[in-house]
Amino acid sequence: MSCSDKPIFVIIKETPAGYSFDNDVVYSSPFAKHVLSQPADMTHPSLVVTSSWGLNKSITQMATGNAGFSILKKADNRSNFIRNYDNRRKFVGLIDNGSRGYKLARTAPLSGNAPSVMELTNLLKSISNSGKNIKVRGSPLEYKRLLDYFQFLLVSKIKASDLFLTRPNNVHVMDDINNPSKDVTLEEVYLSLFEQESSNRTMYNSAYFVTMDRVAALAAVVRQIPTIYQTVKPQNYYDVPTGNVNRITKFLQSKLKTARNAFEIPNRNTPMNNHPNRTQELITPGGRPIITKGPLFKWFLDTRNIQEKGNREVGTSFHKFSADKKALILFYWVFAYPSGTHTTNLPFIEAFLSILDTFHDFTGSRATTTFKNIIGTENTRNNLKRIDPAQLNLNDFNTKKAHKTLVKLLGTDIYRKSRKAYNTPLKTIISEANKRRLNADDKVGRMLYFITSMLGSDSGSLVQACENLSQEILLHLADNDPIYERPKTFVFGEGRNKLCDKLDREGACLVIDAISGSIPQCLAKHSVYHNVGVLDPATRSILSWSEVDGNEGCVDGAKEKERQRKMRLKRRQEQKRLLKEKAAKERIKKAKATRERTIREEAAAAAASKAAKAAAEAKAKVGREARVAAREAAEKRERNNNTLNNRPVKKVKSTPTPVTASRPPRPPRSMRQQGLNTTPGSASARPQTRPITESASARPQTRAASAARSKRNAPASAGTRSASRRTPSTTR
């Protein structure tokens, strides 16, 4: 997520009068009743949870996002304020709110989220290590559960009531309104709002919960919440039919019967050897009854080690089974638990899955690296294995001692709650299956602690096995037929699939809790991510993350920075590519122009050469004719019989001026005098052409005049010499 991102969805409720934006979601957990609300005066995703634990001093409110920031800002200098933070910009705080209990608040840049597992673990550690007398009733663990389940509660709420999920904007209207051109009319903008295909005004009142969290998916399915479960490898999506507790129980039975070293589920009443009023309901491969039904306990799970009791042998050594077997037995025991006079055993299943999911969250490395004692030691785990469910006593938790292990932290919650009343359905189910002389709350507390101690008696493999079994159940319910299979190689614009078609057909959206990998393209437009942006007040402007209080100078995370860096790099490469392309185009253009100019010049040179040749030929012809004429004139004079003048005439050898090819000879003077000495183009092409001094022989008129002059003034050779002297300067 980037600092400039804005949240994308809001909840709207249809009322008898119109539509409202302040809507609450209620969650009744085994320990408390929580109401999640969206505060209307907040300018950003803020989650405020108000809790009713039935306890005197408990966490009564939790706030996230902008609401969390406001609370923490006010509380900063107060006593009895416990704060944990990774750095100065991100922290979780627990604030004493006097007689109204405690407030748990969380703030962090770019987030409207509730505290993470690690943050809550840090807080637990701080409470545990604090020298202050802070008696917190109501574990922060419960809030983690609450927020995990918020997504499917939202789906449930949307499905069952008048709530809608919708986008807080219509990008087409925004484009039309912001369009700087003046040709978009009001009518066009208004009518575009009704175009089904291009308008994103859909108000979804149907939704699917999407998760890869196996336990959360199973919890959603048994609560009859439409669920899409995603497997991690391969990344396939399964549409899991809801509310199939009976089908799940049958599946577990078949697994128990067909497993290697199969268990036995007797078809008819099989009394126990020493107790004719108790029947065996599940028998181990070793022939020991592990689940029994009797007048005192209607669905008793015997986890005791095999031991002598009086003159008989009791127990099944449950803890010596493999983790997979233990998970199978446990699930069968839970799903087949009698509902008594209540309509369904669902509250019991929900309580079990809630505790299981807490173990999933708080026994992983996220928690154990921070809060090293949370899973306890080998010794404490062995002690938990020895717990006899029939002999449990929760009074151990009636102490001021700060507990550090998960089992004891949960145990404290369970004990405190048992003093003040659990919810009625859970009490009805458990107290009808347990006929001991205890009050109903005590029975519920003991049962919940029994489940907790079983899951805590193992360093993690049992929880892992339970998660694997949850996946098996989910895939079985979905008939192992994925509704969407991720292509094995990346396909750009991978197109439509059955899941997209289903969402389009039903007008439904996806509420995504957690998925592996990116969301398929056609699903993205239907999606809501986690709780960010869902609880968004629509009554105020929605600011980008960087504009939210406490996020001033918003700093993007490492991933975002990396993404932006890559974007910049890509932009630069693109710019370089464009520049290169432009330069190449210019080069090509220039080369083309050069080629064309060369061709033009060559053509001009050829034409000039041709003209020069023609002129030279013409000149040669004129010269020849002149010489012929001169010869003829000389011969005439030689044949003159005038003796006085009959002297041999010294013949003047004319020296023809060499003419270069590049310089056409001048046309005859007569032509030049008439202004015809230029051929078209030649004058401009050769502006500096120097006048060619012609030889005497080439100038018959001049020669005649010269002859006359020579006769009068000078020897004829004088002019010839003069001409010959000039010759070198005119030849090249």
């Binding site: 539509y19 934006f21 978009v184 009518e187 009704f194 402007s541």
Partner: protein
Amino acid sequence: MFRRERDRGGKTIVQSPKTSTLSNRRKASGRLTFPATTSKTPVIASNNVINKNTQRQQLVNTYLTFTYEMRDNLPRRIFWRYVILVLLSIDKIAGVSSNDEKYSQLFEQTNSLNGTVPIDIQNTWARKFEYIVKNAKGISSSTTKSLNSMLKF
């Protein structure tokens, strides 16, 4: 020359001659309808393609888009265009068309607006619209009367 008349349920409707992609798309749906006057004011087809419920949801969507865009220094042109669009949407739900011409003219006039709108004025309008959205099922011909008197920029 560019307009063609159609008869739909006894009502003569002239369809838009526009060539923009927006109107072309709408032509295909047969819902872009204008009265047979020189005005370009839209009229929802009498076959009631768009029902009241859809119109109300559209109002919610437009209101949300308006609040989404609210910010410091929101240009006057954009702000008043949203206001006019929301008012038109409310009148359409009430079946009032007497203001259509005025809205169209004002919408065109917004093109010449400069400057920005203070956040408190934006909030004032947002609160009034929120109240109307909360009572969307009670929208009547008088709903926009008081708002129209505030429509000055």
